[in-house]
């Protein structure tokens, strides 16, 4: 489903060049739940941004669902982001002046769905995260865990093939973090591919696969799941 081969990303300033990713290769199958781990500055977030078409890359190839993602124009990359990829951020990134219903509605607007279709999807996705009774609430009226569930509902409403999560429990206490993880598990079991960046070992253990990134490259992979041990990590670097 997601194949990167030899992907590189360099951030340039007048004085220095920083190689955020070097010759990075990974293959992720449909339905996978992959945790991307590594120390700060190793290139995890850059990997996620490139996978989500939030940033361009300088070299290598990246295919999503067999479509080459190199050199897409803004319209095309926006369309793919909107239709095929869902995002969950550490800081939730909800719009504070919109209620839950309107927050989940935002990406659906760009999709061009009719009002009835949008309403159905919003209600379904909020129901799925257990917040259907609070549609008219503003984000500020919710706990951190609830806000993250709204963000997950927003990501799910468009029925994406790929869900990218960047430290989704980083701002949550352990109880709320567990609830969010349970939800991500459910979503993955329902067939959505998840790639999650995390520092959290527990979270990484709950993923079905793990990719460790160091200095912009795949360093090593260790599966914490027993079944994962039977299947080698599909690292192509």
């Amino acid at each position: 489903m997601l194949i990167m081969k030899g992907v590189s990303k360099i951030y340039r300033t007048d004085l220095i060049e920083t190689h955020a990713l070097r010759d990075f290769s990974v293959e992720i199958s449909a339905g996978d739940f992959v945790a991307v781990t590594g120390p700060s500055g190793s290139g995890k977030t850059t990997l996620l941004n490139i996978a989500g078409l939030l940033e361009s890359f300088d070299g290598g190839t990246y295919e999503l669902d067999s479509v080459d993602m190199f050199g897409l124009d803004d319209d095309d990359s926006s369309k793919i982001r909107n239709e095929q990829i869902g995002f969950i951020f550490q800081s939730f990134n909800l719009m504070p002046d919109l209620n839950l219903f309107e927050n989940v509605d935002v990406p659906l607007r760009y999709r061009g769905f009719k009002a009835a279709e949008r309403k159905r999807r919003i209600e379904e996705s909020l129901e799925r995260v257990g917040l259907s009774g609070r549609m008219k609430h503003l984000p500020s009226q919710l706990s951190g865990g609830q806000q993250q569930r709204v963000a997950i509902a927003r990501a799910l409403a468009g029925d994406p093939k790929l869900l990218l999560a960047d430290e989704p429990t980083g701002n949550l206490d352990s109880l709320m973090a567990r609830q969010v993880l349970d939800l991500l598990d459910d979503i993955n079991r329902a067939g959505t591919t998840i790639v999650m960046v995390t520092h959290d070992d527990e979270l990484a253990r709950r993923a079905r696969r793990n990719v460790h990134v160091l200095d912009g490259k795949v360093d090593d992979g260790t599966s914490y799941h027993s079944q994962q041990a039977e299947r080698p990590i599909e690292v192509m670097a």
Binding site: L54, D75, S78, K79, V106, Y110, A115, R118, R154, D166
Partner: protein
Amino acid sequence: MLVDSNLAYDLQLALNSVKKTPVLSALMVAAIGIGIGACMTIITIFYLMTANPNPDNSEEIYTYALHNHLTVTEGQEDERPRLMSTYRDALYILESDIPTDQSVHYQSWAVYRNSEDGVNPFWELYRLVTPGFFSLFDVPFLYGGAWTQEQEDSKVMVIVLTRETNDRLFGGENSVGRTVEAGGEFYEVVGVMDHFKPLPKYFEFDSGVFEEISGALVPFSLTPVIELMKNSGGRSCIETPEGDDFQSYLDAECHWLHHWVRLPTPEKREAFAEMLDNYSLEQRRFGRFQGPFNNRLFNLMEWLEYLEIVDGTMTMLIGVALMFLIVCLLNTNALLFAKFTGRSAEVSLKRALGCSKKRLLRQHLVEIGLVGLVGGALGLLLALVGLAGIKLLLTDMDDLANMNTDLVAIAITASIISTLIAGLYPAWRTCQIAPAKYLKSQ
């Protein structure tokens, strides 16, 4: 609230944004409103000064100017032709059957009395006109109508009152058939005009071009009968009349008559111009019309341009008002930069959620357009206040200081377009924000 149309959604977002930053929004609206208000105050007066005062007839009514100088001053061979006609030239041209309609007219003053009732006599303008005056200039009538050409030719003592004069003499009643004393003569009323105030009063440029026609009008053919000299507006004699009698005045080289003709086809226009040239050549043989040939024929709009009714001061005022608008728009531009910079995180998120740059730009332009619309409405209000102030200060600007629907549309459109221009760059810059840039910092 679910809104289906993208435009309606963008409007909803724009309204939310205005509510979120009320002070910035109010400052922008104020800046645009003041700029548009100042511009529209000046433009309203300019627009009405330069508007076509007789659109139905403007393409086919003409006035002429003969190059009828008696002598040529050295170094001034290209001197402008005289804009008013002599009595003898006007009478000659009146005889021509090339124009389908003609108006020769001049203005004077007279004392008016209602010979039947005890109305106090009053001093008011008094015009001598051929019946073509009413048709050429599209004069509206309240009662009755103009006198006929036969009555004109027969020098019948008839009169058409303006509405105001009829109000003063007859309390606004239908006075057709009644008698009026004007300038010591008795006339039968054949018509009462309705309000008639073409702006500007193009057919009589030598007095109060922005004033309403007042007093009354009587047949031009009565000029030698009642021996009434022109004593309102301009009159220039380039030789002293030979005698003291009225006929000597009529025969003298005095320019005092306005003369307009209707030439409905290009052929008629050409024939009339040729007739003027032939007449000038003939007069030259009698020792008149010396110097180069410079006869001119103007249609209405050419005439207004030639007269330069809109002078340089007005053009300069418009320039100043436009400069002021530009300053206001630069302020708006800076305020929009400040406003849009504050929403970088939101823009970044929207881009991440699949909003393209084009879609985002459109959303911003709708918001800017909304600010422009409200600013335009405020500008209109301020322009109305400005125009009311001008009316108070300058009474002859009364009818020029009024907005019509065209001007309202111009104000709103100008406001929206100018605000969009001011806001285009800040909006474009905002839409260039990389989708990943602010997602971590929220």
